[in-house]
């Protein structure tokens, strides 16, 4: 509670006590009026003052002004009718203030809760100075400095471990509770908590460019991108208040005039009272507060689970996702190619691999890399000459005086060598030595352990169709798709074909169904931005992915996609509940008020009650851990 709130709470208690006291005092007439004015002014003086300023600034639809008119109106009616019932005006003001107080308290509290949840900001960095540790502002640490991170401390800046080994808790970044082991030479990302050993880290980035700063920046700005629901509500609020005020005016004037003209009893007082009730219901605050609060809580909860959503609008789109398009490599598969096997080798397998590695030594293609890795030894470039790359086919080269050809079946056909067809799934590199077939190497990209479960969960979450795009061979792609239960698969695509495919899917689907594209964030930026919503996975530390995507999954677990969708659904469900509930109750109160069934008491109760319930409901969006 801040000072303002404490003061308000004191005023609320004082006014409430005075009203109860006055209830038992048998005073009448002018004295009663004056006595009741004491709690009225205690609780409402600032509202009256603000209303006055509003009049000066011509802000007649200001809620303070409306409350002032309603309560003063009620007092005037009480004076006119000599009923001495000033309770109503005081109570309306009192409940209005209680509502305002609760709103301010609840919003402040949830603001703090959510910020705490996202609190990965390191406060300091340790720098060793003459054998003594000195705490400095992370902003002041230059690239290449050595920092020391002790157990229990957060890694403040991205870097590489120079000395020491430890387990790192990445849960604040990824939502993953299993600690990650790190040793000298490993890269570490800021925001992780060092759990066991002392680490000496050489920084590779400035604090402002470090992962932790980027994430904080992103999440803090996320709620500034407003969703359609928020826009709708702020437009609604703009129309609602004036509309209700004009209705109130009409209610105060038209029925009495009508009755006067038709010779009936005009009952001015009764109609004016009903109009004042309208003014009490005219404040749109319950609506306007609960919607951004729901989104803010949803984004906060998601980021705590390692799902960064870059804006409320994206959370909204995510909840309407019906098609999920995957780029196979790096999302469903690990994106790491490994030599699985060597078949039909005419010479020793290791020797064949050695020839392959040398032939591919100039290439940086993932396949070539995997062969070089499988060979596992330093390559002596002088042993290889005459490297020729034949696009779409493979490579020929001379290694140790032997003519080596490494490539697909097309290459073998071209060289007039008969290749042995491989029945295994994966990328196959056929080898020929001095014009004779020498066997083939099978390379494959492992499917992630959770991919199958992830697809099943997406289906369960109401996704209509899952589609896989890949540049891989058809047989490989179809086998992976079958294993995982993916509905549609398009293979042998060039990067530009992927954009075209996504555009095709976008053109075919219904307008209200959204298409999500899931990529690893490396060289699929055009597709990420073309889809309704781009999801980048395994993005920890990759600036490009964070830049291009709308939703960033910090770790590379595909299960998080379904989780992100479930989080967004929950958040949007809460948003709609609040919209319908708040507007519904207000409309009911307006109707009851017009008919004279609802008194001003009920109106203010409804108003404050709706707000309290809507705020409490909004905070539910924060709890997404078990979703």
């Amino acid at each position: 509670m801040n000072k303002k709130q404490k003061k308000m709470l004191a005023r609320i208690f004082l006014a409430a006590a005075l009203v109860i006291l006055l209830h038992f005092l048998p005073v009448q007439g002018i004295l009663r009026f004056l006595l009741y004015m004491v709690p009225y002014l205690v609780i409402g003086y600032d509202i009256l003052l603000k209303a006055w300023k509003g009049i000066l600034n011509r802000q007649i639809f200001d809620e303070s002004f409306l409350m002032a008119v309603a309560t003063i109106g009620a007092i005037v009616i009480a004076l006119y009718e000599k009923s001495g019932d000033y309770n109503e005006a005081v109570a309306v003001m009192l409940f209005y203030q209680i509502g305002e107080w609760f709103q301010s308290y609840a919003v402040g509290k949830s603001r703090r809760n959510i910020s705490e949840l996202m609190d990965i900001r390191p406060d300091y960095a340790n720098i060793e100075n003459d054998g003594r540790l000195e705490q400095v502002d992370p902003d002041e640490v230059e690239i290449g400095s050595t920092i020391v991170v002790q157990p229990g401390e957060k890694v403040p800046i991205d870097g590489v471990i120079l000395e020491g080994a430890s387990s790192l808790n990445t849960s604040a970044l990824t939502g993953e509770s299993l600690p990650r082991e790190a040793k000298a030479g490993d890269e570490v990302i800021s925001g992780c908590i060092n759990m066991t050993g002392v680490l000496k880290i050489q920084t590779t980035k400035e604090f402002g460019d470090s992962t932790v700063s980027q994430i904080l920046d992103l999440v803090e700005n996320a709620s500034s991108r407003k969703s359609k629901s928020e826009d709708f509500i702020s437009k609604f609020a703009k129309v609602y208040t004036p509309a209700v005020c004009y209705c109130a005016l009409a209610l105060a004037v038209i029925p009495p005039l009508f009755f006067t003209l038709t010779g009936g009893n005009p009952e001015w007082v009764q109609w004016i009272y009903r109009a004042l009730t309208f003014l009490v219901i005219s404040c749109p605050c319950a609506l306007v507060i609960s919607i951004p609060l729901s989104f803010f809580a949803g984004i906060g909860g998601a980021s705590n689970q390692g799902v960064l959503v870059k804006g409320s609008n994206y959370l909204e789109t995510l909840s309407q996702t019906k098609y999920v398009v995957f780029d196979k490599t790096g999302t469903l598969t690990r994106g790491v190619f490994e030599v699985n096997d060597v078949h039909h080798s005419s010479i020793e397998q290791a020797k064949l691999l050695e020839y392959a590695a040398y032939a591919e030594s100039a290439s940086s293609h993932p396949i070539a890399k995997s062969i070089q890795q499988a060979y596992g030894r330093e390559l002596d470039r002088s042993r290889v000459s005459d490297i020729q790359e034949i696009g779409g086919h493979g490579i020929t080269a001379v290694v140790d005086g032997v003519n080596v050809a490494a490539g697909n079946e097309k290459l073998m056909n071209k060289l007039g060598i008969e290749a042995i067809h491989c029945h295994h799934v994966g990328t196959v590199v056929h080898m020929a030595l001095n014009g004779k077939y020498a066997g083939h190497i099978v390379i494959s990209d492992d499917i992630k352990a959770t991919s199958k479960e992830a697809i099943a969960q997406l289906k369960h979450a109401g996704v209509k169709k899952t589609i896989m795009l890949t540049g891989d061979a058809r047989r490989v792609a179809e086998s992976v798709a079958r294993d995982l239960g993916i509905d549609e698969v398009y293979s042998e695509l060039l990067p530009s074909d992927k954009v075209a495919k996504v555009e095709h899917i976008l053109a075919e689907k219904d307008d209200r169904e959204k298409v999500a594209f899931v990529g690893d964030g490396i060289n699929d930026a055009p597709v990420l931005s073309r889809a309704d919503i781009g999801i980048a996975m395994g993005a920890m530390g990759s600036d490009a992915a964070i830049e291009a995507a709308d939703v960033v999954l910090m770790d590379d677990d595909p299960l998080k996609i379904a989780k992100a969708i479930r989080i967004s659904r929950k958040c949007l469900r809460i948003v709609y509940q609040n919209i319908y509930f708040a507007i519904g109750i207000k409309l009911i109160c307006l109707i009851l008020g017009a008919l004279g069934i609802a008194t001003m008491w009920l109106a203010i109760f409804a108003d404050v009650g709706v707000m309290v319930i809507a705020i409490l409901n909004a905070i539910r969006a924060l709890f997404v851990k078990k979703l």
Binding site: K50, K53, N57, R111, S234, A237, C285, V288, I289, L293
Partner: protein, 72 residues
């Protein structure tokens, strides 16, 4: 040019009104008031100096919501 300012305001609807008022100030291209993080992001038109525009923004905001603060 975009700049972010800290603000202080109590109700969400007032924040929306501040946003509208700020958008109407001369020299302001666009404005977003984020009630949840209590921040105001003002995008200025080219060639406009925030130092001269911001006092106008504060004035406009005070007019719709006397209880607000914009820290410039």
């Amino acid at each position: 040019m975009k700049k972010t300012y800290k603000i202080e305001v109590d109700c969400a609807n007032c924040a929306n009104q501040m946003e509208d008022a700020t958008k109407k100030v001369n020299g302001v291209k666009n404005a977003i008031v984020n009630f949840m993080t209590l921040k105001m992001i003002v995008e200025f038109e080219e060639g406009q100096d925030p130092k001269t525009v911001m006092p106008e923004v504060v004035k406009a905001c005070k007019k719709v919501e006397p209880d607000c603060e914009v820290y410039i």
